[in-house]
Symmetry: C2
């Protein structure tokens, strides 16, 4: 389903404009049409998808085990269901060449995308140079498509617990700078959670920064004061919904009214 | 994806054996793999699907607006995700001939199905004779397939508020008897909620009876004592999950920690 190109240009520009350091845009991660509509109706300015949540809801493990057509169809359903911009988590790009990935994302109605720098199946960090080359190719495809898709480059140094703990921040900064030079609009150091590290990362990287909200981590107010530009949840909201459903199921199998405390 | 025919025969027989009047099987209605697995892990002996919930999660209104291939693919994902029997809500059969409907259901791994006797788009009750002919054709296809799929015939007299209120019970009983003669294994008077009406219906119909659990309706214990053989929820559990997610989204957009009370 092809969207109007003008509609995509406007949505992409809107999504980009929401990335304001110190006043982070909060993007809840949807996994199906129901969740996307719930978030849109709550008043969020834009939404993201979570590859892990979508894969789980369709019966796959996270990590590019889902067929790419199924993932792109799920992104399409989410993006079609809401008027607000949708940014898509597409892991490592599912083996698609950059121009085809961008064409498929635009065809699905996505106006932003996450690309990660570790192998989702082995957990190995990608070579930084190779990742920069890949991001540069994606940037060139975006520019050629003339839709300002927001390119969010994930930096998995902390998420993958790369190397020695005291070397991670420097390595994450080094990678983020390279990815920014290669054309990333936003950088996303997944697993970076310590407030002072977040502050140092934000100060060292000349780009909007995406931080994943964590239980017992910094509040939204703290993340704003640290200069963060975007907050997302990965599969967290889906996992919370799953936990809630498990508690409902536990009551139900005991013969309790499932609607009594919902 | 073809299941082993022996596996389907065993699952269908198990599902059928769970329909015991006075000791109702409780079948939570799943809409995706995540919900199906949550219900299976909670210990339910079998699960159902809800056409309305599946349609909503994929971006369609209920009432056969979803392409049948998409509905059957969703049923397939659910049935494949769990070891327990899955019975599928297939509305009016999506225009498929009886033998093709049964072949597609078995291919999807479903060992039970609901078929309803009103038009999901107009709300008009089907002609009782025509519905009986249709159910007889489905029964013949089931018998030919040699898998004892549990055929659950929905009776929509109360759900559609057919005719005068004081004539509904007699009409529902008349239809249920006809559908049972035509080969239904179970009858499902949707919208029948009053305990004395349920008791009279169960007493008048020589078949296992499925009642939809309702907020503020009879408890599981009451439904058992009324002689009910099966309890389901339609889209109710999905709607409850959606309401819960809306409350999470409302907290989140206020800047609250979404994980704090989940």
């Amino acid at each position: 389903m092809m969207r109007s190109s003008q509609d995509l240009v406007e949505k992409a520009a809107l999504l980009g404009s929401l990335h304001v350091p110190g006043r982070p845009v909060v993007l809840p991660n949807a996994w199906d049409v129901t969740s996307a509509r719930v978030f849109a109706e709550a008043g969020f300015a834009a939404i993201a998808t979570s590859s892990g949540a979508i894969a789980n809801s369709l019966g796959y493990d996270d990590g590019e085990y889902i067929p790419r057509d199924d993932m792109l169809a799920a992104i399409d359903r989410v993006a079609r269901a809401v008027e607000i911009p949708t940014t898509a988590d597409v892991e490592r790009g599912y083996g698609l060449p950059a121009d085809e990935l961008i064409a498929r994302l635009l065809d699905a109605g996505a106006v932003g995308c996450n690309l990660e720098d570790s192998d989702p199946q082995t957990g190995q960090l990608a070579d930084c140079d190779e990742q920069a080359v890949w991001l540069r190719a994606v940037r060139a495809s975006l520019d050629a498509a003339a839709v300002p898709i927001v390119l969010n480059a994930r930096v998995d140094v902390h998420f993958r617990a790369w190397g020695a703990a005291d070397e991670r921040l420097a390595e994450a900064v080094r990678r983020a700078r390279r990815y920014r030079e290669a054309g990333a609009d936003c950088v996303y150091p997944l697993g970076l959670a310590n407030p002072s590290d977040i502050e140092r990362f934000v100060g060292a990287v000349d780009a909007p920064v995406n931080i994943a909200f964590r239980p017992r981590g910094p509040s939204f107010g703290e993340l704003a004061s640290l200069g963060v530009a975007r907050v997302t949840f990965g599969p967290g909201l889906h996992l919370a919904a799953k936990s809630w459903l498990a508690s409902l199921a536990a009551r139900l199998i005991q013969g309790e009214d499932p609607y009594s405390s919902s």
